[in-house]
Every structure is written in C-alpha cells, then in structure tokens.
Symmetry: C2
Subunit: 401 residues, 2 copies
Amino acid sequence: MIQIALLGFGVVGSGTAEVLTENRTIIEKRLGEAFNIKYILDLREFPNHPLGDRVVHDIAPILADPSVKVVAEMMGGSHPAYEFTKAALEAGKSVVTSNKEVVANFGTELLRVAREHHVSYLFEASVGGGIPIIRPLRDDLAPNRIFSISGILNGTTNFILSKMKNDGADFADALKEAQALGYAEANPAADVEGKDAARKIVILAALAFGVLLSPDEISVEGITKITKEQTEVAEALGCAVKLIGHTERIGDRVLALVSPHLVPAASPIHHVDGVFNGILVDADMLGKTFFYGAGAGKLPTASAVVSDILHAATDATELPTWEKATPDRVADPADRVCRRAFFFKGCERCAEATKAHFGYEKFVLRNGGFAFIGCPMNGKETEKAIRACGKELCWTLPVLD
Amino acid sequence: MIQIALLGFGVVGSGTAEVLTENRTIIEKRLGEAFNIKYILDLREFPNHPLGDRVVHDIAPILADPSVKVVAEMMGGSHPAYEFTKAALEAGKSVVTSNKEVVANFGTELLRVAREHHVSYLFEASVGGGIPIIRPLRDDLAPNRIFSISGILNGTTNFILSKMKNDGADFADALKEAQALGYAEANPAADVEGKDAARKIVILAALAFGVLLSPDEISVEGITKITKEQTEVAEALGCAVKLIGHTERIGDRVLALVSPHLVPAASPIHHVDGVFNGILVDADMLGKTFFYGAGAGKLPTASAVVSDILHAATDATELPTWEKATPDRVADPADRVCRRAFFFKGCERCAEATKAHFGYEKFVLRNGGFAFIGCPMNGKETEKAIRACGKELCWTLPVLD
C-alpha cells in the first residue's frame, strides 16, 4: 500500500484527490499495488469532503510517519512550501509538485537534497499544466543537444492576446473579460507582467542546459503595453502577437527571457489560441518538436501531479543535476540574434531608405507609418541600424523563428 | 560498459550509430557508464564506415554473447525481424525497435515474451518518428482514461495533401514531386494506400485501450482518390483534407481506422503541413494534448531509438499488457458518431430540402453542386439521411472534431 500525503487542498490539491479517486483502478493497476491518501495538509477544515478526515494542520505528523512514501506539494508560494519540501526529502519521502515558484527558486538545492536521500523530486505539473513536457525533455530528448525552447507558458495572457487579435479588443477590455471568466485573477500582475512565464522558462532552461537562472534576474516584459495597433500590424505582417518564454544557448552562456514576440503563421505556436499552452523544442537530432494542451486548470494540472506520483512511487528516476547560474553562465539578451519587427513613423518614400539599413521581408504601410520584419541581427546591430536610418521608431518586437 | 547490437544498417540503423557517436558524451552521462556498439547485423559489408569492423551477417553470435544488453532492431519488414526480436528477448536481451510492422503484427506476443524474461521491448520510434508519443502516452497520461487518438501518422501523404491544398496540384503531380524529393518511394503503395498509417494507429490503439487490432483487418482508405475538387471544397468549408489515423473506444469495443478526413482550422492537426506528423490525444483528465514534429527521417527516428536504448539500458520499464483483438472487442466503423462533409449534385433550391435531413453548419455552392458539414451521426443514420434526401451524393468524408 502506497501512502500519499497532499500538501495544500486548493484547486490543484483537490483536483489531485479527484484524479486519484476517479481513476483509482487504472492508477493502482499501473502502480502494481493499492494506494491511500493518508494526510491532507491545509489550514482549513473540509468537514463535508469525503476525505475531510484526512486533513491535518501541521506538517510534523506527515514527516514523522515512515509509511508516507510520496508527498505532493500543491500549496503555491515559496514559503513554507520550500521548507516543507526540503524537510520531506530529508525524511526520505519523494516529493512531487506543481509549484513552479519553488522549483524556479530552489530547484538546484532540492534536487541535490533528493539525490542525497535517494528519493525523487518531480515537477511535471510546474510547466505547461497537464502537457507532458518535463519528462519528454528529460527522457525522450535525452540523446539530443537542445538548441532552444520557446513557448506560450501562460494561458491567461494568451487568452487576452487572442481576444485582442480575434475581436479587436484592447488590453484593458480583454483583461476584464478574462477576469469575468475566471481566467485572470483580481490582481493579474503575476500573469500579465510575465512573472509566471519567467518561472516556467527558467525551469525549462535548467532542464535543457543544466543551469538554473533566477526568475527575478532574467529579462521579463509582459503584455500590458501591447496595443491594438501592434496586434493589427502583426496580422498584416502574417504574424500574431504572443507572450513567449524563450531560452537558448549562446556560446557557453544561457539566455532566458520573457517578451511579447511576433509569431509567423508557419510556426505551430501561432495557432495556439485562448488559454492553451504550446511549447516548441529545437534539438540537434530531433529538429523541432511541439507540445500543446491545457496549460492550467484543475484536472489537467492534477493529471500531471498524479503521473509524477506514479513515477515517484515506482521508479528511482534519475534526477537532473542543476547548477545555480553564476554571472559567467548568463547570456546578455542583447547578444541574441533574431529577426525583429519594426514600426517607424513616416511615408512610403521614407520607408525605402529605412529598409535598406535592415534588410527586410514583408512590409506594410499603416497609420502614418510603416512596418516590416528585418533580417536577423543582435541587439547592437539593431540599435546601430535604428540610429543609422534616422527615422522615428515607434516600436519593435522580436520575431520568433 | 553497455554493449549494444544494431540489427539493420540502413537509414535508421546508420542514423542510430550517428546519434550514439555524435552525442556520446551526453548519452554516457545519462547512462552513467560507457557504451559500445559491439555488433552491426546487415547482409552488406560497410568497409569504409568507421564501424565497418562491427558488421556481422549472422544473428547467432549476437544471441550467444551474454555481454550484449540491448539490441536495436531497425531491419524493417516482418521477417526475419520478428524471429530475431523474439530470439533476442528469449536470450535475455532488451530489444528496442523502429519497426512498426513487427510491433503492429506481433506486439502482443513480444511484450509477453519480454515480460517473461524480465527485459524491455520498447518502440518509441515506431510511431511518429522522433516525436515523443509512446512514452508520454504510457507515462504522462497514465492517470487518464483515453477517449480517442487522432493523428497525421504518415509524412508522405501529408506532403502530397499539403501540395494539393497549397499549390492546387492534383494527386498524380503531387505524388511525382514527393517522389522527386525523396519523400515517397518508387512504389508508394504502403504510404498512399494508408497501410503505414494503419500499422501506427493499431499501435496507438493498443497503448490506449490494451487491445491490439490487426492492421490488415481495420478499415483503411488512402488518399489515391482525393481530388482537387475535394481539396477546394474542404477549404471553402474552413477545413483541410488530411489522412487521419483515428482510434476511439465505442462501448467495450475499440475502433481503429485510417481515412481521409476534413480537419477544421480550429484543430491543431489542420496546421500540420508537409512531411510533419501531429497526434492529438483526448483524455478524461487532461483534455486534448497535441504532439507535433518530424514523423520520419534518419536522425529524428534514430533519436527515438536511442532514447529507448537509454531506457532499456537503465530501467526495468513496466511494459504494457496487450490482448490480441477478438471479434467481440472490435468496433464496427459504422457505429462511429461523427460529423461528415457531404457534396451533392444540385442547385441552391435542392440544397435547402437536402440540408434539412442532416442538420448542418457551413454551406457552399460549387461546380453544379453544394457541400455542407452535417451534424454528428453514426453510419446508419447517415445512410438513412442520404436515402431520404433523394439527391445524388458525389462524395462524403468524415470531419475530425
């Protein structure tokens, strides 16, 4: 009998109990034995829930109970989730989590502690909700050198951008609708300012390159300044505006950033609409592989938690070794070579002279200005071209390859 | 030191040697020890290849060598690949394969033999080339009941259909171009008649539902009869014609089929262009998840083979238990409830009366006829509606949800 403890009985925690209960037969068949949810740690009581009698308010009995093999941490926030996770690993229990904040901030240490105690620390649910991405990256892509990972990692912002594109809404109205539908929180800052996506992209970067960057120190730009004009110009250029978490290796350094990008229709990311997530991995042997699905939500996220519980209960999964990023391992975003879209004020005649400084493809005239997609350049070359052309730049956004 | 034998040194076999050699460092880091390609079984000699001295022409020394832990079978065809696989498993060696024909025809038995000898039989490369799909289905989706799997499982036919759609080519010209580019073989029957996709969909069906259907007994229709008119009408209805492998559970029975479908733009499968593959899985907890990438090709397929070698060398992977499909477990394709597109001869006035028998959405007039997408019906209801409307049906195709 596998004894399980759930930490946190909110959306994901109660969803995990639901998946475990609803699909108990297939899960126990896979486990090869029965399981039991022995403890549920939460500050609240749940007297009317069928598992209400499992609720405890203190981590101590869980840590002290040698029968508990797997702890699923779904509390959210860094503290006390980090402390509880570390204590559980030190007590010889495997921990699985949906908590991207803890993984992004303390993953290096927690993976080390797990290895030292011969237990697992798994976090499939921390990125992309229910989409299988962490385990495929670790397992299926293991024979590959990864070049880059780019993705829509936050469903709330993608819903807002989809609304702006499909209905011509502006940011404020689209945000209001997302809030009314429960896709955005009353305080939407973590989503719309890109912080949630930042935590996820540093986790993916660590899986790809072995170096965990701090989500607070990477370049992060959200979608609060995205305008209807940008959405329309993007469409005229054959693209959609998407909030992209991106990581790539530049020499020996790792770049990770979150920024609105123009995504061309040829990319599978272009077609990710609404609250879905989509993640594109580019690797040396495999080429481009794309993973798409429910990036959040109670049951999809819980499905990922339960798949980790299955692994933690049955295997000794080989855990990755991450290094904490020292400054010499962190790439400067200005060193990224990519295409960019530019919108300059001016007439068609000005445009001809301007384009010559950039090389370009696709060109549109709009609102007393002109927009085009330039050739791949790094940040310095881009700045130089902007200075050299002498025209007034209204805005520029990177284009995803 | 992990000793590996490769059976077959064609495209995938030599690609596997290339992946193992090129990325030896990261692969050995993951294995936790060194590996060696000890044998390469092929009828030919490769005197100029760096691994030419490993070539043998007889399986016997490989089977007799107790140091060989993993055998990678990439011979293609059922025989002698099946016999060699069985003998290797019985000799206590794990086998990994890219050979969909063997898995689709003999998977039930080979998985049983592997379990009996406490070794692995893994086949990530048999479906979707390099795309991670077998392991995610087994591992990440383990807590889910799967409703259906639908996908573009053959890159050759998708290239041809993409050409027909994007360039207005007819089937014969698009096939010629595919052959000229090396995407289609001189004898393209296995691809264009849907046999390759049939093998893959029965493997996916077995993973989802535990029952292995015979690829020769399921309903299989290829793309040889797809016309420019169908391609154009599909587009007018907001869809693309795609060759789809589809499996779903109907009651206690399993349906698996291969057929051209109309795929609406809202589906991620719609946007899979050219030689790529894309597979959509619908599951109870996770909802819809989509996997996209290189469905064939030397290095992508080899990447999947090597990921299986890594697993076979390090884990005792829990293998699925498949049953051979008895007639009482096989669903009648006519019991599938789905929307269908219809093209009838007739004028706009005839159309009004006709549509009433089907319920409909989207409607177009074209070429002295009219097309629409009807409401979901099973086969009998569809036939009844066609008879009742009394109009001449030119063609009908299922629509993917």
